[in-house]
């Protein structure tokens, strides 16, 4: 019974975020934060990441899952295994792999484009501020599609087989069945997945650090990356703490919003 207070005490102390500077400065850091264009840039990038995550991770996962419910697809277990593989690889390693593939001199991507006859599409994937968010999004999507696929597949088992078959007999094939029958019945699972996806996207750090370190310039900085840069590279711990606190606040806001929305749509049934 000595264990519990020990753990508690430590954990609680970890929860204390300071917004101090070496001299006490009250809310100055926050004022600075709210006026900081880079902060809003990070926010915007985070928002892009969130949207991309939903679009590139959950949507294809759903499509693949739906495809797997029809009898068209073979070797389901195999597909599942392959897709889930990148999920367990460290996001850092994934980012490095893609970094090598994106590379200008040795890059697989650029070479492939040349071979296929699209030299015009080659670019400086990681060096061009305009393209960088796209470049980063691809590995993000790639890595976690399998995660949502497995979740959705598991959620699928909660739907009665009879309903699906009845729908098919009534003439609802493939796409129709997916959208009008499967989707609504999986509402709970999808909600939870969405929540996971959102909370994961806000925290993203490893991949950004590995692929671009927030660059070029600040073009791909996200919140966590910005907190890191401010605290450790610019030695401005107070500011970094303020950013961290903002991250916490934003996370909580999003979670609360999501729960409200969930309750609201749930009650509409």
């Amino acid at each position: 019974m000595v264990l519990v207070p020990l753990v508690e005490a430590f954990y609680y102390s970890l929860n204390n975020t300071f917004n101090y500077r070496l001299t006490f400065a009250g809310f100055d850091n926050y004022k600075r934060l709210l006026a900081d264009p880079y902060f809003y840039l990070s926010l915007k990038n985070n928002a892009i990441v969130i949207l991309v995550s939903i679009g590139l991770q959950m949507v294809p996962a759903f499509i693949i899952m739906a495809a797997m419910t029809t009898k068209l697809v073979v070797a389901k277990k195999f597909v599942q295994t392959i897709f889930f593989f990148p999920v367990v690889i460290s996001p850092l390693v994934t980012a490095y792999i893609w970094k090598v593939m994106y590379s200008n001199q040795y890059g697989v991507i650029n070479q492939l484009l040349k071979v296929v006859g699209l030299p015009g599409w080659q670019q400086n994937w990681l060096g061009d501020p305009k393209v960088i968010m796209t470049s980063i999004s691809i590995p993000l999507g790639w890595q976690y599609i399998g995660f949502y696929l497995v979740i959705l597949l598991a959620g699928l088992t909660s739907i009665d087989r009879d309903i699906l078959e009845a729908a098919e007999i009534d003439g609802a094939t493939g796409t129709k069945r997916a959208i009008y029958v499967i989707l609504p019945l999986m509402r709970n699972t999808i909600n939870v997945s969405l929540l996971l996806c959102l909370s994961g996207s806000i925290k993203i750090f490893d991949q950004i650090y590995a692929m671009s370190a927030g660059g070029p310039g600040h073009a791909s900085t996200v919140l966590a990356m910005y907190a890191y840069t401010a605290s450790f590279l610019q030695n401005d711990y107070g500011y970094g703490s303020a950013i961290s606190v903002m991250m916490l606040v934003i996370s909580f806001i999003i979670i609360i919003v999501m729960t409200r929305v969930r309750r609201a749509t749930g009650q509409n049934e």
């Binding site: 519990v4 390693v93 098919e168 699972t189």
Partner: protein, 287 residues
């Protein structure tokens, strides 16, 4: 059922066939994009740098082992692997120990403050730990605790506890108390009940907790980056980043390092695949 579909779609049977081929085809191409990068990386570790530059796609014939030899001749490699293993293994032991104990007391006894503690840990699961990176670093610095053997153990264990406790607690609640009561009547002490009865019963969930944490801790990056930057204590992910700077022109070396970093996970995935899938997604499916 299949026949009903076919009868109704008569002339569309051909369409269905094409659709089958097309969808399967697309799916397989998709799968290829998953397998290819890893294959490419692995066979590229067997090329030398000039061979690589010549043609990045070609297979290494004959395979050259110089990259592997060179990497393992650097002491950093060994210390990184040892550090990661040490941190991960010890943390896992502590996590299981603490979460099992706490989970046991939470699920079996009610005492004042029990709900509070339970809620406390539950909230702990919600907090994004990256947000705590800075404060933790500051605290550790003030206490002079960075760059030690045990530095990383503390946050690793502390941050993994909420989820582990939750898992143990939920699992234990599903176990009927009759076994314990019988043992109690037979004169067993609490200690004995815990270790000899509950623990073996909880093996499945212990397995899940171990697997989940192994994954998370081996790959853990931000805290390792920030709290342990000294050369002797680096973990594998950090070691990997050194390759980007020092050896950036030696791409084959970099790739070899990445393969080394991935290997334990790949091996674990191979053997524990289902357990991993189950564990990682269990949070989402419980509804």
């Amino acid at each position: 059922m299949e026949e009903v579909g076919r009868r109704r779609s008569g002339g569309r049977a051909f369409g269905r066939g094409v659709l089958a081929v097309a969808s399967n085809g697309i799916l397989w191409i998709f799968c290829a994009t998953y397998i290819f990068p890893f294959m490419w990386m692995i066979y590229n570790t067997l090329k030398t740098q000039p061979q690589f530059i010549l043609n990045i796609f070609s297979l290494p014939i004959p395979p050259v082992w110089s990259n592997w030899r060179d990497i393992f001749s650097i002491p950093d490699t060994y210390s990184a692997l040892i550090n990661s293993s040490y941190n991960t293994a010890l943390s896992m032991v502590f996590i299981v120990f603490f979460s099992f104990t706490v989970g046991y007391f939470l699920s079996r006894y009610s005492f004042p403050g029990r709900n509070f503690i339970y809620g406390f840990f539950l909230v702990g699961m919600l907090v994004p730990i990256y947000a705590l990176l800075v404060p933790v670093y500051i605290q550790f610095n003030k206490l002079g605790m960075t760059n030690h053997r045990y530095t990383l153990l503390i946050p690793y264990v502390a941050f993994s506890l909420p989820q582990a406790i939750y898992l143990f607690d939920s699992y234990m609640r599903t176990i009927p108390r009759s076994i314990e009561e019988a043992a109690f009547v037979d004169g067993a002490t609490t200690n004995q009940i815990m270790t000899k009865i509950m623990f073996p019963i909880c093996m499945p969930i212990t397995g899940t907790v171990l697997v989940l944490n192994f994954l998370g801790l081996w790959n853990e990056f931000p805290f390792a980056l920030v709290l342990v930057s000294g050369a002797g204590y680096r973990t594998v992910p950090i070691w990997l980043t050194t390759f980007q700077g020092q050896y950036s022109s030696q791409i084959t070396m970099r790739i070899t390092a990445m393969v080394i970093a991935m290997t334990p996970i790949i091996v674990a995935y191979f053997f524990l695949r289902d357990r991993m899938m189950e564990g990682l997604t269990s949070g989402a499916i419980k509804g």
